[in-house]
Amino acid sequence: MIETIATAESNRELAPGYRLLTLDLKEDVQVRAGQFAMLKPIASLEPLLRRALAVYRVHGPRRLSFLYQVLGRGTEALARVEKGGAVEALLPLGNSWPDAIRDNQRLTVVAGGIGSASVFMVCEELARSRANAQLLFGTRSEPTAVGCGLEDFRALGLPLTLTTDDGSLGEKGFVTGPLERQLRQGGRPGLTIYACGPWVMMRQVAKIAAQFEVPCLVSLEAPMGCGFGVCVGCVVAVKTSGPPEYGSYKRVCTDGSIFPAETIRWEVNPMAH
């Protein structure tokens, strides 16, 4: 984990409301697939808190890029950063997707919306190692798919199934549709699911995985105060035996952001509704 001031190599719009920020660092960093960073434009006072963004791609030990959706004032502030602009960065943070290629296990990666940013590196590994894997990629519409990095994912050559809520690209409907269909068709032994997307989607994926008894990991999201474990503001409710205790809540930033789906108490986390 390093605290540094990075320089924006570029910060371009991929689609309306979706941008790709590439940062140059002063020191080398080792980033594992699924880790994230806390970012904000230098000395920006409003908002005060940095925002969590997954490391989308590693171009070299000192060049990383971030794929993000412009939602509110924090991401708007990032969107205003120009080439050469300085960005405060704390990274890399959080755990990572387990190396997927041990004991020729099969993998289905489910990306929902901008959740794609968190799984690109794992997809890269899978493609590189010619692993037995596929990607289910769901977004609201075709432009959103482009904003969520569709071209980059296509270039990897992994088996790819596309869905859009409005049917403007690929199958119409939610990404959980094809997932459930495939699992029903069998081939579940040795399969693992990695999923990142909106809470509602991940809750659904977790439900399906449980139903078909397939191990599933999810990368969760929560508003973050610090990103390195001290504010205890980013928690999610996890399963524990008996009454609420210290272990009833886990921090997304340091205990996660990746959790086994079955450990999450989906019904009580308001974000999942």
Partner: protein, 309 residues
Amino acid sequence: MADPTNHDPRLAVEIAGVRFNNPVIGASGTFGYGLEFADLIDLNRLGGFATKGLSARPLPGNPPPRIVETHGGMLNAIGLQNIGARAFIHEKLPLLALWDTRVIANVFGYSDDDYIEAITILNDGEGIAAYELNISCPNVKEGGIVIGNSPDAAARLTEKAKRASIRPLIVKLSPNVTDIAQLARAIVEAGADCLSLINTIVGMSIDVNTRQPRLSYGTGGLSGPAIRPIAVRMVHEVARAVDVPLIGIGGIASAPDALEFIIAGATAIQIGTANYYDPTVSMKVIDGLSAHCESHRIATIKSLIGSLK
């Protein structure tokens, strides 16, 4: 590791017999158990830090969402999730012993007895410099009233805690009162060795689309630069009312911010929320205080305490 650090002697201060290499202290709840910062700053350079509120037994805390950002600050309703006093002694203190910085154990309970129990447990801990009694957490009302808002209740608890404690006792004041000077007097008369202020101010934020509070707890504690002018005013009021040392807290994010509190009457200061968005802020503040002493030819920062004209 033994202290390899060259401290600026001009910045040293003392509180209830405890020497701090400088007046910059990490605020409770924003500094974890200290160790989280070991990779980010040189803990040996830090004056000290206050632990996350410790209770006799571990606490789960409130359900999410626990935090929401506001203009110039944030609301939190963590609900004092903590590992408990015993785990702190066994898991954290031994590791903290590797650094030369003052460890202040922030103590919390739902009842007087809870507090006393936590203090009794912590009394066995090695390397705790002082206790900070958190009687002002707005996010854990039991039976509706916050002990820290009632001079009588606060004085009663302070007296018991002082008796139970083998260490200097800092009592952390609630800003959610009409007359903080009166509250301070009652607590000092009850035996507090030092007062720290302010804790967060009760606030609320509403999502106008769902028409629900943004925090699961409903209300939360407001912190950050937004509250600094209120905190400076309260430190100034309390400084004129009592004669124990004060630790100023509230929205500090730079050396000039810290100096406002010192000039208003604080012997030391705590940095809270700023640690989240600028993890190395404490080092910057220490350097800034040295620079101020340099440019204003100040031999010791003690000469600035309460020096408001």
